[in-house]
Amino acid sequence: MRLRLVWIAASFMLLVLGSVGPAAAQPAGTLVVGAVAEPVNLDAAQVTDFNSTRVIRRITEALVAFPDNSTQLIPGLAESWTVGRDGLSYTFKLRRGVRFHDGTPFNAEAVKFSFERQIHPDHPFNKLGKYPFASFNFGTIKSVEAVDEHTVQFVMKEPRASFLTIMAGAAANIVSPTAVKKWGADYPNHPVGTGPFRFVSWDRGQRIVLEKNPDYWKGPVKVERVIVRPIVEDQARLTELLTGNLDLAVNLPPDFIAQLENHPKITVLRGQGAHVWYLGINNQKKPFDDKRVRQAMNYAVNKEAIVRDVLKGTGLVSAGPVLPGTWGAEPGLKPYPYDPERARKLLAEAGHAGGFATTLWVPESGSGMQSPVAMATVIQSNLKAVGINVALQTMEWGAFLAKLRTKEQEMFALSWAAGNEDPDLVVYPLLHSSQWTPGGPNRALYKNARLDDLLQQARLVTDQAKRAELYRQAQRILVDDPPWIFIDHEIQVGAVSKRVQGFTLHPSFDLRVETISLK
């Protein structure tokens, strides 16, 4: 009796387990990519997350582009451009003979359409979507004129030195007007562009399938088909990669790297990232309004240990907000050394020899946040060693962002992306006093009159060498009068199976699978 029942249960389990076999062989020419989350939709103008743009940028393209290894600006769908003398107009000469995947010719009208649907509230297709960054990105555009079939002119309300960089962003991608008119509000699920791959299908929660564009203007694409699978759980993504069900995975947690590096079928890739991870300090609250206190905190934190032990080498110790090696970076900048003795001395000078207590807000996760809680815990113990008692408060990402608008923060952990194209997109919003939260992203409520002045000048000058000099001065000020504790710049980590050839991680966090050939 007893045995029989156990047998029934056991054979039931076997029935399930018995239907198992080795995974189907990968078809030649198909690349499977593991994404951290499912893209929300595929209209570049209507998304704000990397998981979506990494897919969208395979389908649609912008007038200005980045080469495969840097964020220097090069021609994309525009062959060339000229900037008006006063910086108040930009004229783009468009590439000829390019067609969208649906056969619609790429021309000045398509460019005009792609921007006007975002910026003109009375455009017939404006109401069919929500364009979250339209005013941030394109708010300085007065009008878009189709001069002739292959020439477009953007007229500006005011000069903006970083405009060309913005024109290389995903929101500036050109979409097929025919497709937008055909699908209307449903266009984000039926994207059509000029890119190396065309959209084929989307099984929700399972996969997005792209097929190569045989007429791609840049030349032949070597991968026939790309399948993007959303796999949220890190361990599942890792297992799928190790068992050959994924060819490419990015955003791998630091703890997995050693295991992957020793694996015969996997190659680990590293690449420059685009983030600055910082510990914000409320510069207007006591005792943080004294710059000696902020300097002391920079000396007190052992950044090298965080990068080595928590991030397993997937970070670069930070000396300031601008990414090292980019055109606006000050090469002579040195990170604050770890020197608790000096920190104590500075605190004593500032009248806090006995230390003080404060609160640190930390998100549990979030875009570009690396390992926020583990990192904050190290920072907490470092600060305690010099007498600063920090209480950690961890929060969910959405709640955290909302709370930062209250101006009640004392300290907070945050990171900022898109830092390598133009310092204006980092230093100005984060540190100019006109950008104080809740109006802007200067959540440290930092104010330095000389810095404000330099950043404003750098916005109005169009000569890059002159701008670089202004930004270098600005960075030297920030070392002496630190707004935050500078922590690190993320190093991207990805892993590919050995059949993947010719892939590198792009500094803009784009995922350029069109450069891949499969063995």
């Binding site: 156990v6 076999g21 449903d186 399972q206 699978r229 875009s367």
Partner: protein, 316 residues
């Protein structure tokens, strides 16, 4: 019986209304809103305010709720803020995957749990009984996500017997065999806690039943032991077991949220997590409403089962 069922069915409306109010309030009162999340740390105040207005978030909560409800009663759950697709289609599209997963897990936990419980009860304090007691403690204490990852590492990574995630293999596949292979780990993970609960309860009620006089009578009549246990014993022990299985069905629907996330199972659970993280209000409300409806219907079915199992119960 019929009037009872009709009365119960009429209650479904108010229950769902209550659920929708609670979910609406929890979502809207928790810090962070869709605009905040969509725009991220780079948002300016103007961008936020403009987007909030466009999304209709600036109106008073009762107005927003009334408008949403007005659409729902017409069968329109609204459009997802991010996916730009109608919520109803999206949720129903994913619901099949959730049903397959929870259905299999329920079957595993019911069949496995009753079998184990009966086996333990017929030989109390045997090795099997003790092992099952230890396993029960283990099954109930293990968090789903932890157990899922452990099973994944063993069966997918080390042994290579089963795929680690998804519902079908990314290329090809798509047949029943492929589905069962992908279903095995998440279904076992999800069922682990329930199977032990059902087993322990079956054991104790069976022990009680098998001590009754009519069992002794049956044995004295010379009825074979198998029939004594199954027909006279189990059938009479079934009422509390069915109750627990009904409760477990609800538990499994909830547990599917975590299990689906761990195994990238394309069901309502992964959709709901995505929706919560993005504060996609219409999407989360739609998911919860459909899951709640399902839960209410399962409870109704359990009540109906009582009457069938025990004719003395007339559900007055």
């Amino acid at each position: 019986m019929k009037t009872y069922l009709v009365r119960r069915l009429l209650l479904v409306g108010p229950v769902l209304l209550g659920v929708s109010v609670v979910v609406f309030m929890v979502l809207h009162l928790s810090p962070g809103d869709p605009a905040e999340i969509m725009l991220g740390p780079q948002a300016t105040k103007e961008d936020l305010e403009r987007l909030r207005t466009e999304l209709g978030l600036t109106e008073p909560l009762p107005v927003q709720y009334a408008r949403w409800l007005g659409h729902v009663v017409q069968g329109d759950l609204g459009r997802s803020l991010w996916m730009k697709r109608p919520v109803l289609g999206e949720v129903l599209g994913r619901f099949q995957a959730t049903l397959i997963l929870t259905g299999t897990a329920l079957l595993l936990s019911t069949v496995g749990g009753i079998a184990l419980g009966v086996a333990s009860a017929t030989r109390p304090n045997s090795l099997l009984d003790r092992l099952s007691a230890v396993a029960s403690l283990f099954g109930v204490s293990m968090p789903v996500f932890w157990l899922g990852i452990v099973l994944m590492v063993i069966f997918a990574l080390w042994l290579g017997w089963l795929p680690a995630s998804g519902m079908y293999s990314p290329y090809g596949g798509g047949d029943l065999r492929d589905l069962l292979a992908h279903l095995a780990l998440p279904a076992v993970t999800l069922a682990a806690a329930s199977v032990t609960i059902v087993a322990r309860l079956t054991r104790s009620t069976m022990l009680e039943t098998l001590g009754q006089d009519y069992i002794r009578t049956a044995r004295a009549k010379g009825v074979v032991e198998r029939l004594v246990v199954l027909r006279h014993g189990l059938r009479n022990a079934l009422i509390p077991i069915v109750t627990v299985v009904g409760v477990q069905a609800g538990y499994l629907l909830g547990g599917a949220v975590l299990t689906e996330t761990v195994f990238a199972w394309p069901g309502v659970g992964t959709l709901m997590v995505q929706g919560i993280l993005a504060r996609d209000f219409p999407l989360v409300q739609g998911c919860v409403l459909v899951v709640a409806l399902c839960f209410v219907l399962v409870n109704l079915a359990v009540d109906a089962l009582y009457a069938w199992l025990d004719p003395r119960i007339r559900l007055e």
